[in-house]
């Protein structure tokens, strides 16, 4: 009984940590530019796929990870520079369609390069599962949680302690004012996209040994991250982490105790419930709309 519960909890927290990282990526870009980046999931895919294929080519694991993350970072910058920036005054729907176009484009490229098959990545450390009170914990889960926690702390420090982080915050608060005090907002926006791509790709790499990876994995993972961000309240970092973990755990519990067929429906019902009762998510700021 208890071991079963613990098992679902482990699964939920692991996958939830991934959702949290994706949600943080959404949050970062949303805060800096008020764009919902539907291509966020593709960064995950690029991270996982590039690492798998580089290691298969004989590149040492550490170097492969660095290269994959760098590739995703460049992609993030390119996305902002060539697709978002030129659209300047476009409205919400148009921007959504642009990022959807970008995600289709990236997915298409990935399919050309890597084909349609699933790719398997080895666990970072031991394949030996860890047993706790009768439940089994994949050693990779510890990597996901550990790296997730490190990234969250790093992100907090980045925003509170560094000048660049503060510049991103300032730009998100008020773009005009930020420009007046000498912040190069274009540069800041590019940085936000880059950091968000880095986050996504790292999430994609650490989770790849658990979920496998393929060219189209970004769609569903991206959407789940999006749901997590919305549950937490778009634009809130704490919300993204809480939303991600909550989504992962609820999903795993529902799959275990109710029906695995309706696992995904749980995520989408959750977002509806949260939006019905807290129209701005759990931690969303109360925004006063100016008319």
């Amino acid at each position: 009984m208890f071991s079963e519960f613990l098992q679902y909890l482990f699964t939920g927290i692991t996958i939830g940590a991934t959702y949290a990282l994706i949600a943080l990526g959404f949050t970062l870009i949303y805060n800096a530019s008020h764009v919902i980046n539907f291509a966020q999931g593709e960064f995950l895919m690029i991270g996982g796929m590039a690492t798998v294929s580089l290691t298969a080519m004989g590149v040492p694991m550490i170097l492969a990870v660095v290269l994959a993350v760098a590739l995703a970072g460049v992609l993030g910058i390119a996305l902002q520079r060539f697709a978002i920036a030129p659209a300047k005054q476009a409205d919400v729907v148009t921007l959504i369609i642009i990022t959807i176009g970008a995600s289709i484009f990236i997915r298409g490229l990935a399919q050309l390069v890597w084909g349609k098959e699933y790719h398997v990545m080895a666990n970072f450390s031991s394949d030996e599962p860890i047993r706790i009170f009768g439940a089994v914990l994949n050693s990779q889960s510890l990597w996901v949680l550990g790296i997730g926690a490190v990234l969250v702390v790093a992100l907090v420090l980045f925003f509170t302690r560094t000048l660049i982080g503060k510049a991103i915050l300032a730009t998100s608060m008020n773009k005009e004012a930020a420009r007046l005090v000498g912040i190069r907002t274009q540069m800041v926006l590019m940085l936000a996209f880059m950091v968000s791509a880095l986050l996504g790709s790292v999430a994609g790499i650490v989770v790849a040994p658990i979920t496998f990876t393929s060219y189209d994995i970004g769609i569903i993972l991206g959407l789940k991250g999006f749901v997590a961000a919305a549950i937490g309240g778009l634009g809130s970092g704490v919300g993204a982490v809480v939303g991600g973990l909550a989504l992962g755990v609820v999903e795993a519990m529902a799959a275990g105790y109710l029906s695995s067929d309706y696992k995904d429906a749980v995520a989408f019902s959750m977002i509806l419930l949260v939006l019905f009762f807290l129209p701005r998510g759990l931690f969303g700021a109360k925004v006063v709309e100016r008319v």
Binding site: Y30, I36, A83, P86, A87, Q89, A90, D91, V92, V93, T94, I96, I97, I98, I100, G101, A102, S103, I104, F105, I106, R107, G108, L109, Q111, L112, I219, L223, F226, V227, A230, L234, D261, Y262, D264, A265, F268, S269, I271, L272, L275, F276, P279, R280, E289, V291
Partner: protein
């Protein structure tokens, strides 16, 4: 004033009718007709979606859900329970309209990204149910749907019909039928837009608060247009199911919702004829790109991005703006 609007509306409809009925001259095989019929049905769906997105300014990323509900309702009622088509699609549309009304009330209080997320979630939940209720829907493998029967008269792509003494093939008959449906859909939408309801909707798009200040019951109108666009989708989904003769949960998928909203934005939000053009272009694009097999997806994404970046108002409004500028320049030069 009213007279002028009447004329304008008729002119657009007449041009569309001429295009639709001259098109068969360029269609040479059943495959072409199949594509053209699909286009007409989907264009009519998009005309309905445009009422919500283009005129009332409310985003829906789950509209395929309503299309899928209509398709499956008709499929199940005619296939499994032996209903005839017309009651199935009418009852289906009423049921879907009711669902949209129930769901729409809490959802439409949300704005912007939150609204798009909520509609996305609704669409997803519908798709997941269609996928999982295998006993009723056939699950991911889909289910067969009988041919369309209109009060005892059966319309099938494989039939032979005679129209005013002319022998026509079943696929041609389907195309003509779908064309008439599209014309009706446009006619209804255009009339709605020019009615007081349409004006109320546009005021909601402009500024909801300002609309409320002048006494527009914004909540009522938003949920009304949500229901109308869902009913459009349901009816077209039903016809699509009959036309295809087979449906899978793909008719309700997130991908299809994205295609629908892209057609609206690409063609030109708020322009009925624009969104029809969007539907045609987006439906043709994969056919054209099929020659490039391998790079199809890449090209599709690229074209989508480039059009939106350089023509954020959409194809038709941009093209007409360019055309009228040229025309004015020419006229100015002559004067």
């Amino acid at each position: 004033m009213l007279n002028r609007f009447m004329q304008l509306r008729l002119r657009g409809l007449i041009v569309l009718a001429i295009i639709l009925f001259c098109l068969p001259a360029f269609l040479s095989n059943p495959f072409h007709y199949d594509l053209a019929t699909q286009m007409a049905i989907i264009a009519a769906t998009v005309v309905g979606l445009n009422l919500l997105v283009g005129f009332a300014g409310q985003i829906s990323l789950g509209h395929a859900g309503f299309f899928g509900l209509g398709a499956y309702f008709t499929g199940i009622m005619t296939g499994t329970y032996g209903w005839s088509s017309v009651p199935a699609l009418v009852v289906g549309a009423i049921a879907v309209g009711f669902i949209a009304w129930i769901v729409g009330r809490p959802i439409l209080r949300l704005k912007g990204h939150y609204l798009s997320m909520a509609t996305l979630a609704v669409g997803f939940i519908i798709a997941i149910i269609l996928n999982n209720e295998r006993a009723i829907t056939g699950g991911p493998d889909g289910m067969p749907v009988p041919a369309l029967d209109l009060f005892g008269w059966e319309l099938s792509s494989f039939g032979q019909y005679s129209l005013f003494g002319i022998e026509i093939e079943g696929y041609t008959a389907w195309y003509l039928f779908a064309s008439v449906i599209l014309l009706l859909a446009v006619w209804f939408a255009q009339n709605l837009i020019e009615s007081p309801i349409g004006r109320a909707l546009r005021s909601v798009h402009g500024s909801e608060v300002a609309a409320r200040v002048v006494g527009v019951d914004t909540a009522k109108y938003k949920s009304l247009v949500f229901v109308i666009s869902a009913v459009y989708a349901s009816l077209m989904g039903s016809l699509f199911a009959h036309f295809q003769g087979f449906i899978t949960p793909a008719v309700a998928s997130f991908e299809f919702s994205i295609v629908l909203i892209t057609m609206v934005v690409l063609g030109g939000m708020g322009s009925t004829y624009g969104v029809i053009l969007g539907a045609v272009v987006l439906k043709l694009l994969p056919q054209v790109l099929a020659d490039f097999q391998e790079v199809e997806t890449v090209m599709f994404g690229l074209i989508l991005m480039l059009t939106m970046i350089f023509m954020p108002k959409g194809l038709l409004p941009t093209l007409t703006a360019v055309a009228s500028k040229k025309w004015r320049k020419k006229a100015g030069g002559a004067a």
